[in-house]
């Protein structure tokens, strides 16, 4: 994992929402070196709020309900409350059917 392969890159401590275009998020967790913190799910169950982007590499684990007709979900950044956060370009994906889906974060 590195900044080059991350789905979302931002300044350490940034607050933002990460979004997916398909699937419905049941539960979400921020995972940093063995610790797991629940995240708030919002936005029609397709967004999670990251209140404080950790420094370096971290993961968002998404438990996703996929339904018939869904496609690969595109990962993007929704609202940014503080700091600077951008999604990879081109935007990365979570393969349809995969649960848990992981979003790789990098705080710099």
């Amino acid at each position: 994992m590195s900044q080059e392969t991350a789905d979302i890159v931002g300044t350490t401590g940034a607050a933002f929402t990460a979004t997916i275009t398909y699937g419905e998020i049941g539960e979400a967790y921020l995972e940093v070196t063995g610790t797991k913190t629940p995240l708030t799910v919002s936005g029609n169950k397709q967004a999670v709020t990251v209140p404080n982007l950790p420094s370096g590499e971290s993961l968002i684990r998404l438990d996703i309900f996929w339904k018939p007709g869904d496609s690969n979900a595109i990962i993007d950044v929704g609202s940014v409350t503080s700091g600077t956060v951008t999604a990879a370009n081109p935007k990365h994906r979570i393969d349809v059917g995969n649960s848990p889906g992981y979003i790789e974060l990098f705080g710099k």
């Binding site: 967790y29 339904k67 869904d70 349809v96 649960s99 889906g101 790789e104």
Partner: protein, 542 residues
């Protein structure tokens, strides 16, 4: 649904590769290596993207395919889902899976209750040894075993064991063809989609009958009888096959993008109290596998695999190279130990989730009709072919109604001089089911059923050859058939409570009243009891 999902998958590929030639997925979907099949979607996407770089003049316009490689890099968390699927198929891990599966009940199977009220794991009403007056549309997802005792239309109060399976699920489990796919099934063909997917198969064994075989004797052991006994009948088993049933279920057509289906899906999802915990269990079980892969798996040589993909646009070289990489990359992870147990837990939890997911889909789409064929071998009665049409309507919170219409025909050629025709009986029946206590660890279901059968002739009893005529010492040389009971209407009503416990255990207890039974006149009050277990969580045994 699978046809639709395959179309969606193709559409995704096309949309992702505007200028690219879509690669034929056969290079990976039919590959002999488990890891290539598990990563097929990502391999196809990557090869398609690499091919799209090639311009008409032969030069390349390199793109950024970082994310494709993220999904193929075993040291990357985004490859963990497919890596788990691939690793679960390896022999060494399967051995561990058996151990895990055998103790599944002790390690916390998510509470797999909230089954659809139209699921049936035992035989229908026309069997000696049943708790169900009518046939239901639903069945086991992968495998179920039911033990039942009691009689409803039959005079003989028997005991049966019934094993039930779904054609598509058992096919996938045995052939390892995407055994845990749900919305991402890519490699299913027409036969799987349209035939196996809707078929449920069950075999019922009468536990009260012994299987026998005839064998030659080798001489008199004692006694002074001058009559030589040349052959004898010996028991060969405690149970005997008493019926085979094939059921084909037709789901309502649905458009997954329609508002109507989405609303139905959301409602079915919200009603299921199982699926959320099952999904979380999958995530919790996957985390250790992901961490182990990230810590120990060899990272993908991205330059090397790019060169391979460039060298062969068909994808075959990519598949071969990826397979070699996968085998090398997972070695340090497997050698680290503990992975086998973690993967077995993931696959068990995925199977439980898949079962809950299919139930949600069936509740959202609704069953249109089911057709059932049963071959029955009742004790000392002619064999029959029973054809049943099953319809149902789910009123959601207000319960579910199921209707049957059936005709039973005698099997084979009728004996010379038979005083009866081909038709055994015709019947119509219905059942109302309502679930209660859906939030606890134990769910209940109340069922009220009514059944009407009309048969043009009394029932037939086979008198085997050698039977001594009553009051005489004269054996009947060729056997015979006798009418028993009465022709006309047979009415049965039943009230039943089914307790559905965690992990797929069902215990039905019923009481019934009938105006007569198939062989005896006069009303009868009977009781039925059974137990069944749904083995969907043990799918990875295969």
């Amino acid at each position: 649904m699978k046809l639709l999902l395959r179309s969606v998958f193709v559409a995704v590929l096309l949309s992702a590769t505007v200028h690219a030639q879509t690669v034929d997925a056969a290079f990976c979907s039919k590959n002999i290596h488990d890891e290539v099949r598990a990563f097929c979607q990502d391999l196809v996407l990557y090869q398609t993207h690499v091919n799209s770089e090639l311009k008409a003049d032969g030069s390349r316009n390199p793109g950024d395919w970082t994310d494709d490689l993220n999904h193929l890099d075993l040291a990357d968390p985004r490859a963990a889902f497919s890596a788990t699927t691939a690793l679960s198929a390896s022999t060494a891990l399967n051995d561990a899976a058996v151990g895990i599966a055998q103790s599944a009940s002790q390690i916390g199977i998510p509470s797999g209750i909230v089954q659809s009220p139209d699921q049936q794991t035992g035989p229908g009403g026309g069997t000696s040894g049943t708790t169900s007056l009518i046939s239901k549309a639903g069945s086991a997802a992968l495998l179920s075993l039911a033990l039942n005792t009691g009689a409803l239309t039959q005079s003989v109060n028997g005991a049966t064991s019934t094993i039930t399976t779904n054609g598509d699920q058992i096919f996938r489990a045995i052939t390892r063809n995407e055994p845990d796919c749900l919305v991402n099934c890519q490699n299913s063909d027409w036969f799987e989609q349209n035939v196996l997917g809707g078929i449920n198969l069950s075999a019922t064994f009468s536990l009260a009958q012994q299987s026998t075989t005839t064998t030659a004797t080798s001489g008199q052991a004692s006694g002074t009888s001058t009559v030589q006994v040349s052959s004898v009948t010996i028991p060969t088993g405690a149970g005997k096959l008493s019926g085979i049933t094939v059921k084909y279920r037709v789901l309502n057509r649905f458009d997954p993008r329609s508002d109507k289906f989405r609303q139905a899906w959301d409602a079915a999802l919200a009603k299921s109290t199982t699926i959320s915990s099952a999904l979380k269990a999958v995530g919790d079980a996957t985390d250790p596998v992901t961490q182990a892969l990230m810590a120990k798996a060899t990272p993908l040589d991205r330059e090397k695999i790019y060169s391979v993909a460039k060298s062969d646009p068909s994808g075959k070289a990519l598949a071969e190279s990826f397979s070699v990489y996968f085998q090398d990359a997972v070695k340090p992870v497997i050698e680290g130990g503990g992975l086998d147990t973690s993967i077995a837990t993931v696959m068990k939890d995925r199977a439980v989730y898949a079962d809950a997911w299919r139930t949600v889909l069936e509740n959202a789409a609704g069953t249109l009709l089911s057709f059932q064929y049963s071959y029955n071998k009742p004790v000392n009665q002619p064999q029959t072919h029973d054809l049943t049409l099953i319809g149902g309507y789910n009123f959601k919170t207000a319960g579910m109604l199921t209707f049957n219409g059936a005709v039973s025909l005698y099997s084979g050629s009728l004996p010379a001089g038979a005083n009866y025709g081909r038709v055994h009986f015709g019947q119509v029946s219905g059942e109302y089911d309502q679930t209660f206590n859906t939030s606890g660890q134990l769910q209940g279901q109340l069922s009220l059923a009514g059944y009407w059968q009309y048969q043009p002739n009394p029932s037939i009893l086979n008198i085997p050859a050698g039977t001594v005529a009553p009051g005489t010492s004269i054996p009947l040389p060729n056997g015979t058939q006798e009418f028993v009971g009465t022709a006309g209407s047979l009415w049965v009503t039943q009230a039943k409570i089914t307790m559905k416990g965690a992990g797929g255990i069902n215990i039905p207890i019923g009481v019934s009243w009938s105006n007569k039974t198939d062989l005896l006149q006069g009303s009868k009050v009977g009781a039925q009891v059974g137990i069944s277990y749904n083995f969907s969580s043990l799918g990875q045994l295969f």
